[in-house]
Amino acid sequence: MNPRILLFLTSAAMLAASGLSGQVTFDRIIAAEKEPQNWLTYSGGVASQRFTKLTQITPENVKNLELQWIYQAKSLEKFEATSLVVDGILYTVQAPNDVIALDAVTGRIYWTYSYSPEPDARPCCGRINRGLAILGDTLFMGTIDAHLIALDAKNGKPLWNTTVASAASGYAITHAPLIVKDKVIVGTAGGEYGIRGFIAAFDIKSGKEAWRFYTVAGPGDPGRNSWAGDSWKTGGGSIWVTGSYDPATNLTYWGVGNPGPDWNGDTRAGDNLYTNSVVALDSDTGKLKWHYQFSPHDEFDYDAVQVPVLADMDWKDRNGQTRPRKLMFWANRNGLFYALDRNTGEFLAGTPFVEVNWMKGFDEKGRPMRIPGKTPTTQGTLIYPGNQGGTNWYSPSFSPGTGLFYIPAWVNYSSIYVKTDDDEYKEGRRYAGGLPRSPVPFARSAQNFRKEQEGYGAVLAIDPRTGEKKWEFKMSDVTDAGILTTASNLLFSGGREGYFFALDARTGAPLWKAAVGGSVASGAMSYAVNGKQFVSVAAGNSLFTFALRQ
């Protein structure tokens, strides 16, 4: 027998015999779609489509979904994590930074790892965490005090703990790390604290930093001249959702947050590279291959902190010819849906998916053309979309089945942008230069008193080839929920109204809902154990897991 085949058979037999002991190799991660029973990365695969090939739950039987188990977090912080599932074990994070391993069928706890962040940790927008990464038998978590921690996935014992940046200076890590080969990649949040953001890779065995890419160009960088004076030193450029990876080119893609101070750009004249951009980095070296800046010299807090969604499709070029292309789809906080060539960064198309009044189209190179006067002032300027954006960090989804791109959107939503000049940079303190206001005051409460003029939340289905809206599922309240689609043409999402629901991904028709009693501020994921498909989502302070009634 060919020794290679023998080796293959032996390993396959060992895997089968050992049941749960199969190590998560990087080859398994980049081919995650071949084992849809597992959910191996934050977005379900390195292409970040948040799409599952599992088809047991269908538009016809989804009405028979019923609750299997709830994990109630011992934390009152928002539960924003997407769980990982590996061979029947579910790993999630109880905010801010406790890691829990559960049985994915019963919800019973195997182990808990408790972490107490430094008292200096002060993330802007909640003491939260969005999830974990796994490689081999090791879990990786970034913490709100900007540490990166490796844990043994079998017992939750820490293996190493690396300080990535200073919490006292305003740095934090809130997103799930990304594994590429033998490295774990994270970036730093803190865009409202005058940080100089960066993306860095760490050796998975030692936790030692392998490379670092500053998201704010400094001395010696080609983008240095896009920052006036010393403004780069406090330029922001935060990272707070997980990037993507293309094995064909070895590029890793990350969305970069807003420049600081947020709402007053006077001290930072220039485009402020690489804020509000997508950067494509060589994953071995961290060197910049290309970038595309969605919102140059941003003054609206339009972080490009969205999940880069990678897809291969036939694409009609400007000359009318159709050819297969390696694409990146991006629904941006600035209200526009983009298609880019992910090998070169070439801008292919940009279309508003909600009302947009800060720009009026693109120049030849794909740079947005600003509208004069649409800028924050001391009196306030009404801008669409408003400060939370047309969308935000909420995971979108791309279904290769329907060919549609799905966006959790805030429709007809605006803010009055006021700039102030009373902010001086003080280490670790808020450095934002103004504030956005709602044009329609409203009281937040358990009830929904939102007025129509304030805009509404929706799930939008977009044809990525044209940017055309195919359907809209309208909610009364807004949404922070990600979207999961399935190969059986289902779409799962939720919102602040406190429902977790299923729509027909082809038409947007509502098919099923569960009142989960708390805002869904996470992206759903799906897995299977012993042939049974589960759908799991965090809402309020708990994790809810559903499967078909048997």
Binding site: G380, V418, D422, P441, Y499
Partner: protein
């Protein structure tokens, strides 16, 4: 008539003191109002006159002569007094000052102070027929806003405006909503909550009801407030009495 005239000239009056000191905007005033109601009104009252010797609502301050002085007091408090420091930003303190200036500019007259609250109570329960919709300390209907503590959150000038021009400002939670079911029944009530799938109302029979949107053919807000205007229904002294009564409603006092 005099009230309407004063209301009509309000924006004009406002622009003078504000423009003179600081470029305050309506947004500043709105933000400042929210901060004032949640941080300041507990001691100073909605009219700004609850602390003896201080008339925030009339621009009379003991220790500050300009906006900067007011901001300093708001931020740092007054040592040795009951005035505590606040953790506002400088900008937020500025919006509170903008609201104080607005209060002074819009405190049109002493209507409420001149009225007789006891007479106002009689009008509220009698001629005004207010209890057919509003409720105070357990008496009256629930279909309009509960007024037991209205004097802790609304100024006399605002209450007066609501009586004369009920449509001028309707808070989102006080809007009326009307649904039509598939069998043609129409139900009106106060909207208590709504979402993509359901609507919750307090109907005009004071019942809490939920509708599934899939059972409805129509659902919409009513354009206008259901409250009638008392412009031609009450005399000026009666209006003063009624406003005085509303201002006197400070909630349930625990013994």
């Amino acid at each position: 008539m005099i009230h309407r005239l004063l209301l009509a000239t309000l924006p004009l009056l406002l622009s003078i003191p504000l423009a003179a000191q600081h470029e305050a905007t309506q947004g500043d005033v709105d933000d400042g109002r929210r901060l004032y109601i949640s941080n300041c009104a507990l001691c100073h009252g909605p009219e700004g006159g609850s602390v003896p010797g201080v008339e925030l609502g009339h621009g009379k301050f003991l220790r500050a002569s300009n906006d900067e002085g007011l901001k300093t007091i708001i931020l740092k408090g007054i040592a040795g007094s009951a005035m505590p420091p606040h953790t506002f930003t400088d900008f937020q303190a500025g919006t509170v000052v903008a609201y104080l200036r607005y209060m002074a500019a819009s405190s049109t007259d002493a209507t409420a102070v001149r009225g007789n609250a006891a007479s106002g109570k009689a009008i509220f329960e009698g001629k005004g027929n207010c209890t057919s919709c509003h409720r105070v300390r357990g008496s009256g209907s629930r279909v309009a806003p509960e007024l037991t503590d209205i004097g802790t959150i609304r100024r006399s000038v605002e209450l007066q405006r609501s009586l004369l021009e009920p449509d001028a400002e309707v808070l989102p939670q006080n809007r009326y909503f009307r649904v039509t079911t598939k069998d043609g029944t129409t139900i009106t009530g106060r909207l208590l909550n709504q979402d993509a799938f359901t609507v919750q109302l307090l109907d005009l029979k004071e019942q809490l009801v939920t509708f599934s949107r899939s059972d409805l053919t129509k659902s919409a807000f009513l354009d206008r407030s259901p409250m009638p205007s008392y412009k031609d229904k009450l005399s000026a002294p009666e209006l003063s009495d009624l406003v005085s009564y509303l201002v006197s409603l400070k909630g349930i006092v625990y013994q």
